[in-house]
């Protein structure tokens, strides 16, 4: 049985049970994403990976690949929409790249570069959000959280803990931690947890490491996110 989909006209094989994202990554086709990570259950919330499957918009990270699907990914229309979705993530929080210690290693920033985002487009919300620096080794800067739930999933699925959750509704969504005090220092998170290192933005940071790698020598300072992502995620998907 030859299982095959086409993405932007290119035939791509897939195996039973694979999502469109998995099939695409294995074949070296990059689909922009932020909430997706090959090691965790797909979430489908950031909507950057939305592709057109036989004319219908579907999230590539959750939608199963099925024989005969004709998929559009790298089109002007989708790139424009993805750029706007990224801009929405920027204006919703407080993302000041030049003064953020994650700059150059930040996936949100790298996706924005990739999509050629040159401004915020939408009016900024300037929400008032807190910083939780209570933990000796880690900190949460809520200003930069994009609610991708990667830390939630990493903590549950890899660390076998339950440190994080996303609470609230609509624009009031916010990251909470599993401690009666509501503070990170009172949770059972440790420096070695996957959850401590998974944040695609600068919302969860390792203290005392900020400028060990100088700006200009960081991951996305010289590489596009599509190269980085394909190189690191192909193997993980194959596992």
């Amino acid at each position: 049985m030859s299982n095959s989909i086409t993405i932007d006209g290119k035939p791509i094989p897939f195996s039973e049970g694979q999502t469109i994202m998995e099939a695409a990554t294995a074949a070296g086709v990059y689909i922009p994403h932020l909430c997706h990570h090959p090691e965790y259950t797909p979430h489908g919330s950031c909507k950057l990976c939305n592709v057109k499957v036989n004319g219908r918009i579907c999230s590539a990270c959750t939608y199963p690949a099925m024989d005969g699907q004709d998929i559009l990914n790298n089109t002007q229309e989708l790139t424009d929409d993805r750029q706007k979705i990224t801009q929405m993530l920027f204006v919703e929080g407080n993302h000041f790249c030049p003064s953020c210690e994650k700059t150059g290693n930040c996936q949100l920033q790298a996706v924005a570069y990739h999509l050629n985002m040159l401004d915020d487009h939408f009016p900024l919300f300037y929400p008032t959000r807190a910083v939780d620096a209570s933990h000796e080794a880690l900190m949460i800067d809520h200003n930069r959280c994009i609610f991708c739930t990667l830390c939630v999933r990493a903590s549950q699925q890899k660390d076998h803990k339950d440190v994080f959750a996303i609470s609230g509704r609509g624009l009031n969504k916010h990251l909470i931690v599993n401690a009666q005090s509501g503070l990170l220092k009172d949770t059972d998170i440790s420096m070695n947890d996957q959850a401590a290192h998974i944040c695609p933005t600068g919302a969860i940071l390792i203290k005392h490491t900020a400028y060990q790698v100088p700006i200009g020598e960081r991951l996305y300072d010289h590489k596009q996110i599509d190269q980085v992502s394909l190189a690191s995620e192909t193997l993980k998907h194959d596992k």
């Binding site: 919330s45 929405m88 339950d162």
Partner: protein, 607 residues
């Protein structure tokens, strides 16, 4: 507190799926969910405290900080607003000496807005501790304020305050042919299960919630399972637990027909659910009742008991060997739970966030098992079809929309209430029957539907023309379209679950962009930007809420572009930066709000 929570958890068998009903009782007891209770529940139900906190913060009727002993919510539906809600609310706040959105200092009373409470035919309406207050007037507000200040328990309040009318104005196919309890089940067993499903198939019954999915096909899929399971042994398929869920989370502003159907025809609705259960071989059903319909809860429980005693529910129904029972689960103030997969999440005791699909609920629904979710009216129609046959139903309506549709008619008309029409009925007929004069337009299907102008009243009620879950709001020529749109857009921004970016951020951006235009701060490109924003929310959102949230703007922009254009300034550039807004923090710090502490955005001479 300890004992109460312990007993409550025990009563609910320590089931995390029962979290919503446990929290409802805690909220009623303590007027909020205290921290200590969260800790205790986490322990007893063996779930994380973050799970409990996230559920509390998701649903509008749960609170982490105390509400008043009398917690009053006023419906902010457009119809309530048209009946003078705004000034009544101000009056209420004055009488009670409470700030809107807050709790009075003595903790006795709190007053806030809430989304449509489903009393649009008898508004302005509200809720006190979850129970409906209808036809609010100043004298009624005086009366209520006195009762509260005297701390009279709710049970001792005059029942007239809570009176809810059915207002059935025009019955047709279904409402004129009510079945006797048990008749549909008797017909089912006489005719045979597959044969009855064939009748429903022949009736071409489509889901009444608005989406119009073929009901017989949904039941068939739920029973047969997905294609890949088709080769499983029948015995293996049989082992699967299946569920029947009745969606009574009637949250679309302007609709209230399910309220009436459940008040007056609950037997027939439950009978339809039992019928479905027999056909798909389910033993457990749920009625997901929106929290705003708490007043129906006891009555519905009584109907269920009656059915159990008559052998129409419970073990060995009609001695045919089928066991089936129905549980009623109350929501807690979240419009999104009307979306079937969000509803299932909520039934499981979680936040109501729509799932990724596939898999669909028919194959993996409640607790991952095959589940049929249908609207109240759909189950009611299915029961009638079982008795009267598929032909009886299919001869009414249009080619693609068989049978009748029950409408909740409200807004500017003489006789708001429940009207039933064969599909294919022109809008004008409805307007004539309910006594609507000087009509500007009609919102069909609620905010998520479409606004039609008075040039379109020849259009028909039908899935192929104007599909609707039942909401039918009439506006006369004195109404301001932009204000209507604004009310709807605020509603969606408030009810967005926040799961996906386009809806979470987009609906709030849309709200702000519309406000900018309405307030006269829009310039040449702002209507284009508004439409562009609408398109992206519609196209890229995760579920039906986001995909329809921009409809109020899109459908009015298409019909009345000049209304939007007229609001724009004649200047070519308007700074996006809100100069006066930026001073808000400084004003708060300086504790002043005089004219001198404000700046105008643009010098008027620029115009």
């Amino acid at each position: 507190m300890n004992r109460f929570i312990q007993d409550l958890s025990e009563k609910n068998n320590f089931q995390p799926t029962h979290l919503l009903r446990i929290l409802r009782e805690v909220q009623a007891q303590y007027h909020h969910i205290p921290n200590a209770v969260i800790e205790q529940l986490a322990d007893l139900l063996k779930i994380s405290r973050t799970h409990i906190v996230s559920v509390i913060e998701f649903y509008s009727f749960f609170h982490l900080t105390p509400r008043g002993h009398y917690d009053i919510l006023i419906s902010d539906s457009i119809t309530d607003n048209m009946l003078g809600k705004e000034s009544l609310m101000t009056y209420f706040a004055q009488q009670l000496k409470v700030t809107i959105g807050e709790v009075r200092q003595d903790g006795l009373v709190s007053l806030a807005n809430t989304s449509c409470t489903g009393m649009c035919d008898q508004g302005p309406a509200g809720l006190v501790n979850g129970y409906p207050l209808t036809r609010l007037t100043r004298p009624r507000i005086d009366q209520i304020s006195t009762l509260i200040n005297q701390q009279i328990p709710l049970e001792e309040w005059p029942t007239a305050l809570f009176h809810v009318d059915d207002n059935i104005k025009q019955p047709d196919l279904l409402l004129n042919n009510l079945i006797q309890p048990g008749d549909a089940l008797k017909a089912l067993y006489q005719r045979g299960l597959p044969e009855t499903l064939a009748e429903i198939s022949q009736a071409e019954l489509r889901g009444r919630g608005g989406a119009g999915y073929n009901t017989a096909w949904k039941w068939h899929l739920c029973y047969e399972g997905p294609e890949e399971n088709a080769f499983c042994e029948v015995a293996a398929q049989k082992k699967q637990q299946r569920y029947v869920v009745c969606n009574a989370d009637e949250g679309e502003p302007g609709t209230f027909k399910d309220r009436v159907l459940l008040n007056a025809y609950a037997h027939q609705v439950f009978e339809g659910m039992t019928l479905c259960a027999a056909i798909i071989d389910a033993e457990q059903g749920f009625l997901y009742l929106r929290g705003e319909y708490l007043h129906l809860y006891e009555k519905l429980q009584a109907v269920l008991n009656e059915r159990r005693q008559s052998g129409l529910l419970g073990p060995n129904i009609l001695n045919r060997g089928h066991n089936f029972d129905i549980e009623i689960c109350l929501g807690a103030g979240a419009y999104i739970c009307g979306e079937e997969s969000a509803l299932i999440e909520s039934l499981e005791g979680k936040m109501g966030i729509p799932r990724n699909r596939p898999p669909y609920p028919v194959t993996q629904g409640y607790l991952g098992q095959p589940t049929v979710v249908n609207n109240v009216e759909t189950f009611m129609a299915a029961a009638a079809i079982a008795v009267n046959g598929g032909q009886w139903f299919a001869r009414v309506g249009t080619e693609k929309s068989k049978g009748s549709k029950i409408l909740s008619v409200c807004g500017d008309c003489d006789r708001p209430g429940i009207y039933e029409y064969p599909f294919g009925t022109p809008i004008q007929t409805v307007l004539d029957d309910c006594g609507a004069h000087d009509v500007l337009g009609v919102q069909i299907g609620g905010p998520s539907g479409v606004f039609i102008s008075n040039q379109e009243f020849a259009r028909q009620l039908a899935f192929e023309d104007l599909a609707t879950g039942g909401s039918f709001i009439i506006f006369n020529n004195e109404r301001n379209i932009l204000e209507i749109v604004n009310n709807f857009i605020h509603f969606f921004a408030h009810e967005s679950c926040g799961f996906c970016t386009p809806c979470r951020v987009g609906t709030s951006l849309l709200k702000n962009q519309l406000t900018k235009i309405m307030d006269g701060h829009g310039s040449a490109g702002d209507v284009v930007a508004l439409e562009e924003l609408c398109q992206i929310i519609k196209k890229q959102s995760h579920c039906g809420l986001g995909q329809t949230a921009a409809n109020p703007v899109l459908s009015t922009l298409e019909r009345y572009p000049e209304l939007y254009q007229q609001q724009l300034k004649k200047i070519s550039y308007e700074p996006g930066f809100d100069l006066d807004g930026a001073l808000e923090t400084a004003r708060r710090l300086a504790n002043r709000n005089d004219a001198g502490a404000h700046l105008t955005q643009v010098e008027e001479t620029y115009e």
